[in-house]
């Protein structure tokens, strides 16, 4: 039996600001994970990652992160990825204030 593939999003750090961004279906980078493309097919995910990695003048360090479908769109499943969606816990800095 083929192993089940955990759904993924392509994520990276923006080249200039260095903050977390996610790849959308429209091939843009979003700062809101709920707008990201959630991929349930492994081959497709690998291809999207390669495409993302080729965009060297926009981002750095692209990788596939586990995610799940939520009400508003993709949501992180691991606490590290959750922190990336909002920023540090000691100050109101980063996405938790910039997105709202």
């Amino acid at each position: 039996m083929p192993r089940t593939f955990t759904p993924k999003v392509v994520t990276a750090n923006a080249l200039l600001e260095g903050d977390a961004v996610w790849l959308t279906e429209a091939n843009t980078w979003t700062r809101d994970i709920s707008e990201a493309e959630l991929m349930t097919d492994e081959a497709h995910a690998d291809l999207r990652l390669l495409e993302a990695q080729s965009r060297a003048d926009e981002i750095a360090g692209a990788y596939l992160a586990d995610a799940k479908a939520g009400e508003a769109g993709p949501e992180p499943t691991h606490f590290r990825e959750t922190f990336r969606t909002r920023g540090p816990s000691n100050y109101a800095h980063g996405k938790q204030v910039e997105l709202s």
Binding site: E17, A56, H78, F79, F83, G87, P88, S89, N90
Partner: protein, 556 residues
């Protein structure tokens, strides 16, 4: 203090110009991230969870007034108005934008600072006793040697691609405040039988995944041989160190796998080969550097006002009890400014606070500041007659917390709030522990206690040498915190012992509270510190306190 000469200035400015070009080529896409990464790391620029991070070297922890003011300026101009002082006496900016970094480096270069070799597999910032030049128990100020090592190691062509990073610490005092036994090379100044100062050379210490206490390579090395001897050590390591496995690449593993004797033999052989090549030029340079570290012109004045202020103001008295250390000059004290206000982020200072500390240094500390590896700021030379004024100013700037060496004076790495390598958060745990002990109002009763927290196995938070060490891990997708006990980072360096299973983020603060209040019932008297009690009784009674249910189950 050492000031850059024309050579230093030209070198640092030319590196900034090179890096400016590299950043431009990265932004226009002509350099890929893989190509750019080693270049940015050589200049102290990391890419973290939420942003870039610029790590600026504070050589041997010494800052001038102008340098501290520039750090404040950089925080305001290109970051979010604060900086983070680290366990290697550096300062980190957590929010720089890539295109601004060359300007930040240019601003640093203007005050004789840089971020070169604060990352990468090179010789890193040389750290020193933060009381250097001031401590009563010091043989000599070790900073001249540290500066010589900085000049020698910066851009040293043989040592730009070592098997792994390489850290050197130096102390001139009997009491080791520089954690020399947990460094790749630790240099501890000692006197020989003839009374001449030289160094005990310690090699192969380190924390991280495989913690090791450094071993003595040479009991006594004459000062004159220091540079060729250090070069011999790094040279032997450069050839012998493993490049096949990142986790076995540090010199501690090289020493462990080859044995101290073999390393001694190779180092002595290499030393004999290269020693003559140094031909005294290094000693001329050292003599020049030493004049830059001549002690300031200490003054003599009455300390009557100080004693009266202590009697009149209990809060001031409490602060002087915890935050002062003995100075070598009559009438002077070393002031530790706590960057650990209860509930605040350990090591974070705002730009306003940096400016206040710079002003105080200018007015009351002969123009000098120090950064400690314990993430506090030191005013090294304050006359006791001025302490009440210094304290009053610190209070206004929210910098007068009287907790140096106490339970809330916690070392914590940035952890998963910032660091891309972290496996769990450190900062909120430190904040919660400090807040809790402040609520309980017992930290003065507890006395000397070093709690150190790392957010991953790499141990930037020195948890292995904390009396209580906390290591944050990812256990099946949940933050989990392991406790180690009995660690010590001084001249009697000891690696802490793991107490047992880890605790969840919700359980760790109550566990630490249980441990510390339990210690109060175990100690022989109020003078016996946590570490002494642990050494006397061993792990078992502490384990019983930490895991009460398990204890009952075992007894049943």
């Amino acid at each position: 203090m050492y000031s850059y000469n024309d050579f230093d200035e030209a070198f640092v400015h030319s590196r900034v110009a090179q890096f400016r070009g590299q950043v431009e080529r990265r932004i226009d896409g002509s350099l890929t991230e893989d190509e750019f990464k080693p270049l940015r790391l050589m200049n102290g620029l990391y890419l973290q969870l939420h942003a870039y991070m610029l790590r600026v070297a504070v050589p041997y922890g010494t800052l001038s007034v102008d340098q501290m003011r520039k750090l404040a300026y950089i925080a305001d101009r290109w970051d979010k108005g604060y900086g983070h002082f680290t366990t290697r006496q550096n300062i980190q900016y957590n929010w720089p934008k890539l295109q601004d970094v060359p300007d930040m480096l240019e601003a640093l270069a203007d005050v004789g600072m840089h971020a070169i070799q604060t990352s990468g597999n090179t010789i890193r910032n040389v750290t020193a006793d933060h009381f250097a030049g001031a401590a009563a128990d010091e043989i000599e100020d070790p900073r001249a040697i540290a500066e010589l090592l900085r000049q020698w190691s910066t851009d040293h062509p043989e040592f730009q691609f070592l098997p792994r990073k390489f850290k050197i610490a130096v102390t001139g005092a009997a009491h080791d405040r520089a954690v020399t036994k947990a460094h790749d090379i630790g240099l501890r100044m000692v006197r020989n039988d003839a009374g001449e100062p030289g160094f005990e050379v310690i090699v192969g210490g380190g924390l991280g995944r495989t913690p090791m206490v450094g071993k003595v390579l040479r009991d006594f090395l004459p000062k004159v041989d220091l540079l060729p001897y250090c070069e011999a050590i790094v040279s032997v390591y450069n050839l012998l160190g493993r490049r096949d496995n990142k986790y076995k690449a540090r010199i501690k593993i090289t020493v462990h796998e080859n044995g101290l004797e073999k390393i001694q033999e190779l180092v002595e052989e290499r030393f004999a080969t290269i020693r003559d090549g140094f031909s005294g030029h290094d000693q001329d340079l050292l003599a020049e550097i030493e004049t830059a570290f001549a002690p300031p012109a200490f003054t003599t004045k009455s300390t009557d006002g100080y004693e009266a202020a202590r009697l009149a103001n209990p809060a001031f008295r409490s602060w002087t009890d915890t935050n002062l250390a003995a100075h070598k000059a009559d009438g002077y004290a070393i002031v530790s400014i706590s960057i650990k206000k209860h509930g605040a982020t350990p090591g974070d200072a705002t730009s306003d606070q940096m400016r206040v500390m710079a002003d105080l240094a200018e007015q009351y500390s002969h123009g000098e500041l120090r950064i400690s590896h314990e993430q506090n700021v030191i005013l090294p030379h304050v006359h006791k007659a001025d302490l009440a004024k210094v304290y009053a100013t610190l209070r206004e700037a929210d910098l007068a917390t009287a907790n140096i060496g106490l339970a809330s004076d916690i070392i914590a790495c940035p952890g998963m709030d910032y660091c891309a390598l972290a496996t769990a958060r450190s900062i909120p745990i430190a904040q919660d522990i400090a807040t809790r002990f402040d609520e309980l109002k017992i930290e003065h009763e507890i006395g000397q206690l070093k709690i150190k927290i790392s957010g991953c196995i790499n141990a930037c938070g020195h948890h292995h040498v904390g009396h209580i060490g906390i290591l944050g891990l990812d256990r099946a997708g949940v933050e989990n915190y392991q406790i180690t006990l009995g660690g010590d980072g001084t001249e009697t360096t000891t690696i802490g012992e793991r107490a047992g299973p880890g605790f969840s983020a919700d359980e760790i603060v109550p566990a630490i509270e249980r441990l510390v209040t339990g210690y109060l019932g175990l100690r022989s008297d109020a003078e016996e510190t946590f570490l002494q009690t642990y050494r006397r009784l061993g792990m078992e009674p502490f384990k019983a306190i930490l895991y009460p249910a398990e204890d009952k189950a075992n007894a049943a």
